[in-house]
Amino acid sequence: MTLSRLAPYLQAGPLTAILFAFLVLPIATIVMVSFWDYDSIQIFPAFVFTNYEETITSPVTWNTYINTLKYTVIVWAITLLVGFWVAYYLAFHIRSATTQMVLFLVCTIPFLTSNIIRMISWIPFLGRNGLLNQSMMSMGLIDTPLEFLLFSDFAVVLAMVHLYTLFMVTPIFNTLMRIDRSLIEAARDAGANAWQILINVIIPLAKPGIAIGSIFVVTLVMGDFITVRFMSGGQSASVGLMMANQIALLQYPAAAANAVILLIIVLLLVGGILRIVNIRKEL
């Protein structure tokens, strides 16, 4: 009797302990430190709002957040389009389950290398004297190297799309596979064309997958700093990069305040996505 009552708690115990130790405690520490004071070499326990004040009132912060959001929106839109396309093809145009699995695994092959390597390999490809420019010039397509290819917003978005599209493909593919094929047949029998089926049947049913993929992509792009730094050649800022700079200068409280603000914004975005799509209902 008592054991059966205790059992659920015991089962939930390990995960609770892990989440408490590795999620709740660190975040609580960050929140605490964000109210501390600091000078050029030390941080002191205190309860001041200057870190938040300096962060929120600085135009740099706003520009950086706008820039990061810009990347997020662009990357989200492109990965959604590409991801849905790939998932749709895999789910509806490939008949055999084996081929489906094989092709899906092919999608994950790039992930066998680290994402830094995948990103950095773009640099010699896109550079002024890189492969792309050289081949286009030798084909006579362009006279002078295209400069915007590297160390630009274009390069940042390109690398992010490359890195994050799979995070969109996987959940969408998963939901598309669960769609009952008889629904599509019913729609066709009722006279719907392919476009109408896509809009009225498939997309609504794929929403949970789209939402989960969107959450992945949005959180990844919002928190990114290394892609922005390398692909923009240090010319663009992102929120993550701003924090990395502050940490390098030992301004931990300022970085913590920034992290708290970023966390709130990302949670709001995720909350927004969840308001639009009820993931649990569909899973």
Binding site: G127, N129, R229, G233, G234
Partner: protein
Amino acid sequence: MTTKITELKGSTKGVSRRSLLKGAAGAAGLAAGAGVVTGFPTIWAQNPITLRQFGTGVSNLNAIAEKCKADLGITLQMTALDSDAVSQRVVTQANSFDIADIEYWICKKVFPAGTLQPMDVKKIKYYDDIVPIFTTGKLTPDSKIAQGTAPNTVGFVEGPDSKKFAAAPTQWMTLIPTIYNADTLGIRPDLVGRPIKNWKDILDPAFKGKTSILNIPSIGIMDAAMICESAGIIKYGDKGNMTKAEIDTTIDFLIKTKKAGQFRAFWKTFDESVNLMASGEVVIQSMWSPAVAAVRSKGIPCVYQPLEEGYRAWGGGLGIAKHLKGAQLDAAYEYINWYLSGWVGAYLNRQGYYSAVLSTAEKNMTPDEWAFWMLGQPAKTDILSPEGKVMYTAGAVRDGGSFKERMGAVACWNSVMDEDRYMVRRWNEFIAA
């Protein structure tokens, strides 16, 4: 200076590290054998002493630890950190180190915290032979002291327990200088297509989208100041300690230049600067001397261009932790005296840096090496790095010439400003603009 070290280490891993270890092991064996014969002081061998040294690491070299162990029997535990981490540890974890290898501008920040003890110059055997830049501040009696945190301004305190920097040399030295150099712009002579003479040449419209400066605020701002002053944008009271208005003018100008598309990228690590230069993405940029050597070692022409306005210099030194006393303190002094006695000096000079006591280093270098590195004369034979790799072939001349020409033309030293925090904020604005 900060990330240079770790990055350098990362990039030279592999072959050179292996050969370095081999060489060091050989040297250790040799020296150990010699020790038995000549009877080195064996006191530390009987009573093993370990000194924990950390620092920004240009001089945090394994070869030095090995040689020190062989010569003195003192075990050196070296930790390389970036300069921000070093500053923090010196102040907040005073018992976590015995010897701090720090830069002079860091010294200005951390010495007043009272975790380092000044050294008695009477116990420093080669004190009188230390290059006068570090004592009087003047390389020759009639040279002018450069702007910024010049080493002599933070090199001494007033007494054994004092934390106040002395205006003139006293008996109590804060840091024993180890390594220093003069930095300037690196160029691709094959791609710039014109002589480069001034810092302002980086602003030439011909190099639009082909320039870079480093994105480490405390050093980048100094390069920016050299450029602004050269271009006649502003005349600084002291580049190393700008007023808020001077910082504003400098950053506003940088933002304008950035928006006009003059810069290709901003680099933060050693290898980024090497790649930018080697790939031809940039043709003129801020650089550190080992990075120039790295580009050249790929067979790509690269020059560490001397400029009319002079160099931006940096220097580091060894400080002793406050908690050291007794045998450990004696060992620390012995280590420092050994450091200045020539072997390390020659090692550093061969990397293109400069050592604090030149007379002893000279005895450990071949006349040809000395003439090449220190006198600016053409090499008679191939010049090798300490690891035995060919750095320059016979006939080559060092960029910038002799020690006197280079260190005599220092315009400013790396520094920490009173308006540091404001500067960093504005610098971030520049990067985000």
